[in-house]
């Protein structure tokens, strides 16, 4: 069902636009040379990139939420995306290029920055309250986001006109990226997905609390590090290619849990598929709703995500009280 939805979304996304793509093109490319060019050179990479970013953010969100037992955790709310942005901006600002990695410098630095930010947020939250309450963690994420935002503003201000385009990039977009960016993200996506898929049972155990997971025989410390690392890599690499797109990691796992339950063995793959569909559709809306002007895709996701964030917060607080009074 989810796969079907993904295929339909992808088809809509590639076919709709100023240039219409007819269905026959799929088996008869030569009749529509112009349309084929649009499809393969512009639309398809864009849609694939949107799909990959959506899937990456969704599984990163699912992993963070399960690991931290926090329904509000996602790369954006934890400040991880901001960390990745700072990493990316720094690469562009200083023109850094790590030898051997070449163009992969950007996602690698972003992912590393994301991971470091994640660790910093966790350490800071733990200093405030050892039990890592939901609100504490999100507040620490906000602190981190604000701080890193100012660092970025500073860097942008110092560069003047050159990095003006970065501001647009920061709002999140998958337009005009092309195939290179798809190839740039793919290995990080596959790596991150693989690690998280290998840890779904451990995530199920950790949902019951870290101590319980330990008692069940989970090597909590190493598994946690792997999951935080792969989640950060997924988020960081996504930010490197598409800028900051918020709330995907929040919305998708939440919906999947509602429909199919909390078992990570289903949650992770289903979040990947539905995350891809969601972002593909959001991108479609972003570029068509007030065509020819394009909206940043982050605007659309935030439009859905922020109210849901509020809803989950409300539900959890209410739920928490109901539990306490029982």
């Amino acid at each position: 069902m989810s796969l079907g939805a993904l295929l339909v979304s992808v088809w809509f996304a590639v076919s709709v636009g100023t240039v219409k793509i007819p269905f026959e093109l799929l088996w008869n490319t030569s009749t529509f040379p112009m349309e084929a060019a649009v499809l393969f050179e512009i639309r398809l990479p864009r849609v694939l990139l949107a799909g990959l970013v959506g899937a990456s953010l969704a599984i990163a969100g699912a992993a963070f939420q399960g690991l931290l037992k926090n329904p509000l955790a996602d790369p954006y709310t934890l400040g991880v995306s901001s960390g990745a942005s700072v990493g990316a901006v720094a690469v562009l600002f200083f023109g850094i290029s790590i030898p051997f990695f070449g163009m992969f410098t950007l996602p690698i630095v972003s992912a590393t920055a994301a991971f470091l930010t994640m660790l910093a947020v966790l350490m800071f939250s733990r200093m405030i309250d050892r039990s890592l309450k939901m609100e504490t963690l999100i507040l620490a994420g906000i602190v981190m986001t604000s701080f890193l935002g100012s660092v970025m503003s500073l860097m942008i201000a110092l560069t003047g006109e050159e990095l003006r385009s970065i501001i647009g990039w920061l709002l999140g977009s998958v337009s005009m990226r092309g195939w290179p960016y798809v190839w740039l993200l793919l290995p990080f996506f596959l790596g991150g997905l693989l690690v998280i898929l290998m840890n779904t049972r451990e995530l199920n155990a950790m949902m019951l609390g870290e101590e319980k997971a330990k008692h069940l025989g989970v090597n909590v410390n190493s598994r946690k590090l792997w999951l935080l690392f792969s989640g950060s890599v997924l988020a960081g690499a996504s930010v490197a290619v598409s800028g900051t797109i918020g709330f995907v990691g929040l919305v998708v796992p939440h919906m999947v849990r509602r429909l199919w339950g909390a078992d990570h063995r289903h949650l992770v793959p289903l979040s990947a598929i539905n995350g891809a569909s969601l972002l593909v559709l959001c991108d479609l809306v972003a570029r068509t709703i007030i065509s020819p002007t394009e909206l940043p895709i982050g605007v659309i996701t935030a439009f859905i995500g922020a109210p849901l964030f509020g809803f989950i917060l409300w539900q959890q607080r209410k739920g928490g009280r109901a539990h306490a009074s029982r």
Partner: protein
């Protein structure tokens, strides 16, 4: 099975647990007791591997805890921690299935053995019906049982529990502990559990380990641990211990600081002749030991009735009949001790006696138509005719357990002596009778003011009991004869 050797554990350099050592053998149930902050949970967390000791070591099955891989440890030991709310709700079946995690390798798939272990565990704990519900749809007690099922699915040799009966109704407390006991007996499970409830621990544990200020101060069988003095030192509260009514296990009772109501003294005027019989009603319950028809044995009661019944009174169920009778009289069947007599209750003799440190009142009704010599009753069968001696001894004073029993002996001897002095003859044997086959006795005391440790014949109180019971019984026999001869 479990060997704990000199562990010292602390948070941030300050030791919470100091030099704690103990051993647990396979198949034992061990209760960890102690007041709040005594280090019970810290000891538990050290055994379960959550905390690592600064000094000392923990060995399970002869292996140092630190050398065991997480999954190896989880196959040997399961832990049931205190409940805390879950954020995301898996189904009950999913949660129980996680118990099989340590039995799985890197890519191994779910086997028939896994499925069976899970179903068995769910069946044992009675959560099978909840299988498809999610955890947040269950009550605290139900969740507790789900986690227990998970622990059983783990198939451990050692089970650690932290206050497992928290959140549970009495029914489920008993169910859970009975189940643990059963697993211990049937499959050789070893259990170490923190208990908040000392009495539950004493009932179910083979051995109790008591911690205070991070050190072990007791490690012995329940009867050696639940002693008044030591429990008062541990918990810093007044307590009293007594045996469980059905089990050879000690139980502890709290002693509230304030005794309810003012000092109660039983006066002669508290005894009243009513339609129902001779009635004693006091404001404050008396501790009583009796061989009455209703509410016999040891207890606290504020009403005592020597019930007048007709000579042809007969019932299959005297407890039921008396309960109904009390209800019809608007008296509480749970607060009234009832004796019965067919002799005229208005002939009852009531005597008051003051002595140093207290006073007592004796009330006797006597019917000797059925007089027997207890030393001869084995010789022949006899029918139980009407006639019985009911003796009440009500004491303003505090009696110990031995004083209660001695008072009973003293009063009985005085009654026999009265039979002798009045020359009451057992008609079957022609010898002097000692009583009747249905005599009842009640010793009741206010348990206030002076304390009487003993009530034997030469103690102050014993000598007064003897004298007063003798005189009252003699008088009662005379009154009975006088009426009978008319």
């Amino acid at each position: 099975m479990l060997h704990v050797e000199g562990i010292t554990v602390g948070y941030g350099g300050k030791p919470v647990v100091r030099d704690v050592s103990f051993d647990v053998a396979k198949g034992e149930i061990i209760g960890l007791l102690g007041p709040n902050g005594s280090g019970k949970t810290t000891v538990m967390k050290t055994i379960s591997g959550i905390l690592s000791p600064e000094n000392g070591l923990v060995m399970i099955d002869g292996k140092d805890l630190r050398t065991l891989k997480p999954k190896e440890l989880a196959r040997k030991m399961a832990v049931l921690p205190q409940l805390h709310p879950v954020t995301f709700s898996q189904t009950v079946k999913e949660v129980v299935s996680l118990g099989r995690y340590p039995h799985h390798g890197w890519m191994s798939s779910w086997s028939a053995e896994d499925e069976q272990a899970v179903l068995e565990a769910m069946d044992m704990t009675g959560v099978t019906d909840f299988g498809e519900l999610t955890l947040d749809e269950l009550s605290g007690g139900e969740q507790q049982r789900v986690y227990l099922a998970q622990a059983f699915a783990q198939k451990p040799d050692l089970l650690l529990l932290d206050e497992p009966t928290n959140h549970l109704d009495l029914k489920y407390q008993k169910q859970l502990l009975d189940l643990l006991r059963k697993r211990v007996v049937e499959s050789g499970l070893t259990v170490v559990s923190i208990f908040h409830d000392v009495n539950l621990a004493a009932l179910y544990c083979d051995r109790l380990i008591v911690l205070k200020n991070g050190e072990i101060i007791e490690n012995a069988q329940p009867h050696a641990v639940l002693r008044e003095g030591s429990m008062e030192r541990v918990y810093e509260a007044s307590v009293s211990t007594q045996p469980h009514p059905q089990m050879p296990k000690p139980q502890l009772s709290l002693l509230p600081e304030e005794k309810s109501g003012g000092a109660g003294t039983v006066e002669l005027s508290d005894f009243k002749f009513t339609e129902a019989g001779l009635m004693l009603h006091v404001d404050k319950p008396l501790r009583s030991v009796s061989s009455a028809v209703l509410n016999a044995g040891v207890g606290w009661y504020s009403r005592f009735l020597n019930r007048q019944v007709p000579a042809d009174y007969a019932t299959e169920d005297s407890i039921g009949e008396n309960t109904e009778f009390l209800e019809s009289m608007h008296m509480s069947p749970t607060d009234t001790v009832v004796m019965m007599t067919a002799v005229d209750v208005s002939d009852a003799v009531i005597r008051h006696c003051e002595f140093e440190g207290g006073s007592l009142i004796v009330a006797v009704t006597a019917g000797i138509g059925n007089a027997t010599d207890v030393s001869q009753t084995h010789l022949m069968q006899r029918s139980q005719k009407i006639g019985t001696v009911n003796t009440w001894v009500v004491i303003n004073g505090h009696l110990t357990e031995e004083a209660f029993l001695q008072a009973m002996m003293t009063a009985t001897e005085a009654k026999a002596k009265a039979f002798q002095a009045e020359n009451v003859i057992d008609p079957f044997t022609g010898t002097i009778a000692t009583g009747t086959p249905t005599d009842s006795i009640l010793i009741a005391a206010t348990q206030e003011a002076s304390r009487f440790n003993y009530a034997g014949p030469v103690t102050v109180i014993g000598s007064r009991i003897g004298k007063t019971v003798f005189e009252a019984t003699t008088e009662a026999i005379r009154r009975y004869r006088k009426k009978a001869s008319r």
